[in-house]
Amino acid sequence: MAFIVVWGAFFLSATLLFSSRANEDLLSLQKVMKETDTWESYESSQRLYLEGEEEIRITSLFHQEPYLEHVVSQVRLTEDEDFKFEVYFNPEVIYIHTLNTSQWNKTDYTNSIAGELEGMKEPMVFWNRMLNHAQKIRKEQIADGEDHYILTLNPFRDEVHGFQFNEIASAQMEAWVTNKPNRLNKIMMVMHLKPNILRRYNQITYTTSFSNINKAHEIELPEDAQEAKAIN
C-alpha cells in the first residue's frame, strides 16, 4: 500500500509538472501566429474555394511604419464575371477603387463601412479565432526546417469576408511554419459541410499565405485617388 502511495505521488507529480505535447504544439502555433502582428511589412494572399473553384481572392501589401496597406479583392459573381476592387488604408483615410468601373471613393474610420473593410486587412483575426475550436493537433517536421501543423477542429459557425461558414460537419486546419526564424508561411482550412440540396457545394477551402515578410514592396497611392469622392 505504501508503495502505491509513493509511486502514485511520483506519477501525479510528473503529470502536474509536464504538459502534453498537444498543448505545447498549440501554444507554439499560437505564438507563431501572434508574431505576424510584429512584422514590419508583408504581402499576403487569401483565397476561398468552393469545391475547388476560386470564389474570393484577396491580395494585400502591408507596411506597419508608416502604416499603409493596399488590398485587392476579387469576388466571383457569375461564371465569367468578377467584382474587383482595391482599397488603400492610410492612417486617416481609406481609399476605395472599384476596378470594374474605375471609380474612386474615400472615407474615414468613423464611417461604418470602415469596419467592413478592415476585416479584409487582418487575416489573422479569423485564424486566431479558429484555434479556439481545436480538438486535436499534430505537428510534423517536413523538409528544409519546416513544421507542418495539422488541426482537427470542432464544428463551428463563423464568417470571413462576408462568407458564412455554417453546417460544418468536419474541418481541418493546416499551417506551415519555417524555423529560424519561426515564421508562418501558409495556413489553410478545409471544411466539409453537412449535405444540403439547396447548396451547390459541400466543401470550402480557405487559405492565407504570406510572402516578402519584412521586405514587402513599397505602396504608392495612384494620383487618381486624389479625385476620390467621399462616402457619407
Partner: protein, 383 residues
C-alpha cells in the same frame, strides 16, 4: 582488490575514494549552482558569472562520467552493506544524480521547441539542489554522532538466507530498491502519460486569457539595485541629437503608452511566456530628440553606473521596442529594473537593459557589458 602502480587498494579505500570524489563534485556543483541561483551571490561575482556557468556545466559532465564509472563500485558497496538505510541513501544519491544529469543536459542543450519541458527541467534541477543540502547536513551529522559514539548503529542482521535476512524489520532492502525503482518508473510513466494527453480544457481557456508561464530569475551585476526616487530621477537623451532632452518620470507618464504581451527569453535558457508589458515606443522619442545623420548607433546606460548596452538605431525602431515601466499591469519593481527599462521582444534579456537612465546617440557602436566581458552576441537576437 584493485592494483595500481604496485600498490593494492582494498575495497574500503576504493569506497572511501568514491565517496570523497562524489562529495567534492556535489559540493562544487552546489556552490557553482548557488552562484547561478541566488541573486546576491550572482551579483557578488558578476564578472565571473560566465566562468561559474562553465564550471557548473563542466562539473556536471564530470559528475555524470564519474557516476557511470563508479556505478559498479556503488553496486558492489550496496551488496556488501545490505542495511536498508544504506540502500536508501545510495538509491537517493543515484536518483539525485539521474535527475540532475538529465535535467542539466536538457538545460545545457536548451532547445526552444517545448517550453514546458524546459521549465520542468529547471524546476527539477532547482528542487533537487534544494533537497540535497539538508540531506548532506543530516548525513554529516549522523557520521559525526556515530564517530563520537553519540548514537549506536542498529545491529546488523546476519544471515545468508535471503528470506530470513530482512525478517523483523519494518522496511527491507528489497522494499527500498523496489520503491526507488518504482518511483523512477512512475515518474517517467507520469510524464509520458501527460505528454500524450489530448488538448486540455485549461489550455483552451489559456488561449483566450493569456496566462504567464514560467518565472523570472533576477540578474544584476551589482550587489545593490539602484534606488529610484521619483522627484530626482530623470531620463537623459543626448549625444548626436539636435534636441538633447531630459524627462522626469511624471513627464514620461504623460506620453502615449502601448501595452502588449510578449515572451521574455534569457540567454541562459529560461523563459517566461506571455508577459504583459507597458511602456513608450522607443521610436516615439525620435521626433522629439531628432538624432543627427551621424547618430546611427545608440548606447544605453543603467543607473547602476556599470551596465550599458549598444544597438543599431534601426534595431530600436522595430515594432514593440519599448521603454517599459509596467509589467503584468504593475509598475516595475526594483529587481525588474524600476522605474524604466528597455524591452526588445526579439532579443535576449541581456539586451533589455534595466534601470535605464541615459540614452546616448553615438557615431560608432561600442560593445555592451556582456559583449565586452563574455563575448555575448552584440545583437542578441533570439534566432
Amino acid at each position: 582488490m584493485a592494483k595500481k602502480a604496485g600498490y593494492k587498494f582494498n575495497k574500503k579505500q576504493i569506497f572511501v575514494f568514491v565517496h570523497i570524489v562524489h562529495g567534492v563534485l556535489i559540493l562544487i556543483m552546489l556552490l557553482s549552482g548557488l552562484f547561478l541561483y541566488v541573486p546576491e551571490l550572482r551579483t557578488f561575482l558578476s564578472s565571473f558569472r560566465a566562468e561559474f556557468v562553465n564550471l557548473h556545466s563542466a562539473a556536471g559532465i564530470v559528475y555524470m562520467i564519474f557516476l557511470l564509472f563508479a556505478l559498479p563500485t556503488i553496486i558492489q558497496y550496496g551488496r556488501l552493506h545490505r542495511r536498508w538505510q544504506k540502500t536508501f541513501h545510495l538509491c537517493l544519491q543515484l536518483l539525485f544524480g539521474l535527475g540532475w544529469v538529465s535535467s542539466g543536459i536538457y538545460l545545457w542543450i536548451s532547445p526552444n521547441t517545448y517550453l514546458s519541458i524546459r521549465q520542468a527541467a529547471l524546476f527539477i534541477h532547482d528542487i533537487l539542489s534544494a533537497t540535497i543540502v539538508p540531506w548532506v547536513f543530516a548525513h554529516i551529522g549522523l557520521w559525526y554522532a556515530r564517530k563520537y559514539k553519540k548514537t549506536k548503529r542498529i545491529p546488523k542482521l546476519i544471515s545468508t538466507d535471503s528470506a530470513e535476512r530482512d525478517r523483523g524489520m519494518m522496511i527491507s532492502r528489497r522494499d527500498v530498491l523496489l520503491m526507488f525503482f518504482g518511483s523512477v518508473v512512475a515518474f517517467i510513466a507520469g510524464g509520458l502519460y501527460q505528454w500524450y494527453q489530448p488538448l486540455s480544457e485549461e489550455i483552451m481557456k489559456a488561449l483566450q486569457a493569456a496566462k504567464t508561464r514560467g518565472y523570472f530569475r533576477i540578474y544584476s551585476i551589482r550587489r545593490e539595485n539602484p534606488i529610484f526616487e521619483r522627484e530626482s530621477w530623470f531620463l537623459n537623451i543626448d549625444g548626436l541629437v539636435d534636441n538633447p532632452s531630459s524627462f522626469s518620470f511624471d513627464e514620461l507618464m504623460n506620453w502615449e503608452a502601448v501595452t502588449f504581451t510578449s515572451d521574455f527569453h534569457c540567454v541562459t535558457g529560461w523563459s517566461v511566456r506571455e508577459v504583459k508589458w507597458k511602456g513608450i515606443l522607443f521610436r516615439d522619442f525620435m521626433d522629439y530628440v531628432m538624432p543627427t545623420s551621424e547618430g546611427r548607433y545608440v548606447k544605453m546606460y543603467s543607473a547602476d553606473q556599470l551596465y550599458s548596452e549598444t544597438y543599431e538605431l534601426s534595431q530600436l525602431l522595430e515594432s514593440n521596442v519599448i521603454l517599459a515601466y509596467e509589467l503584468e499591469g504593475k509598475p516595475l519593481i526594483e529587481d525588474q529594473g524600476a522605474p524604466l527599462r528597455l524591452f526588445h521582444p526579439n532579443m535576449f534579456g541581456y539586451k533589455s537593459i534595466k534601470w535605464l537612465n541615459r540614452i546616448e546617440f553615438v557615431k560608432d557602436r561600442g560593445l555592451g557589458y556582456w559583449e565586452e566581458k563574455e563575448s555575448y552576441d552584440i545583437n542578441g537576437y533570439l534566432n
